[in-house]
């Protein structure tokens, strides 16, 4: 799932500094590499014991859709990695309601349990973050 294991980056230098990191996925899988490479960043961040949340909005909600079948497009299926997030204690997953609605999706279509928030609620949550990385 990733070439670098989080353990490689464990570093005492940052012990005790906890910032709120939010990673925002906005693009569909396979059309571009952003979602896939963002997974690597999210997993590495767990080695630093930060307060991590992950957001899926716009076409990024398709990253979580059940039933990716990439056999005929010669690409690695990126979606199982989101199931592994729980094992890394990445449990704050948020999906924007408006993005789901616009695409005819409901939480039942998604691979993992998420918290569905309105654009306004998500905006409030963004305001509380120290670091926002989006792609």
């Amino acid at each position: 799932m990733t070439d670098e294991t989080p353990e490689e980056f464990e570093d005492d230098e940052y012990v005790g500094v906890v910032k709120k990191f939010m990673f925002i996925n906005r693009k569909a899988p396979y059309g571009s590499i952003y979602g896939h490479e963002m997974q690597e960043t999210i997993l590495i961040s767990t080695a630093f014991e930060q307060d991590v949340s992950v957001v899926f909005m716009d076409d990024g909600v398709f990253l979580l859709k059940k039933g990716h079948d990439t056999a005929t497009i010669n690409m690695k299926n990126v979606s199982p990695a989101y199931r592994a997030f729980k094992g890394y204690d990445i449990e704050k997953l948020y999906v924007e309601r408006e993005s789901l609605d616009a695409r005819g999706l409901s939480p039942n279509d998604l691979l993992v349990p998420v918290e569905v928030l309105s654009a306004t609620e998500l905006g409030d949550l963004m305001e509380q973050q120290d670091i926002i990385i989006s792609a």
Binding site: E4, F21, I44
Partner: protein, 119 residues
């Protein structure tokens, strides 16, 4: 203020690298500290010494290289994103170094603001 900079796009195809360069340069002129510039996704292509733009165009690789060396700013390139795109130690422009994604998270922790330049 201490800034971390994340560059997510390569040179020329998008404005992101130009904007990031201009922001970084302006911040340094104003006396701010740049904790680190981190290059990810296609942004790793900003570090390739194989880039040869036409002589009447800006040379982004060279501009970043010079900025890094003149102001002693860390220019760090994600190694896994780099290798995937054919970037190795051999074709890294002066001032850039390959490093792990942990350096991006570290830049977030160490800076007051992390600014993301992307598409």
């Amino acid at each position: 203020m201490k800034f971390g900079i994340l560059v997510n796009e390569g040179p020329f195809n998008h404005q992101a690298s130009d904007s990031a360069y201009q922001f970084t340069w302006a911040a340094l002129q104003k006396g701010h500290e740049i904790v680190r510039v981190f290059f990810y996704h296609d942004g790793v292509n900003n570090a390739s010494n194989l880039s040869e733009p036409q002589s009447d165009d800006r040379n982004l690789v060279k501009l970043w290289s010079e900025l890094g060396q003149e102001f002693d700013v860390e220019l760090m390139v994600c190694v896994s994103a780099g290798l995937r795109r054919g970037l190795t130690e051999e074709n890294l422009a002066p001032g850039f170094e390959l490093s792990g994604l942990g350096q991006l998270i570290g830049a977030g922790i160490d800076s007051d603001r992390l600014i993301v330049f992307g598409d």
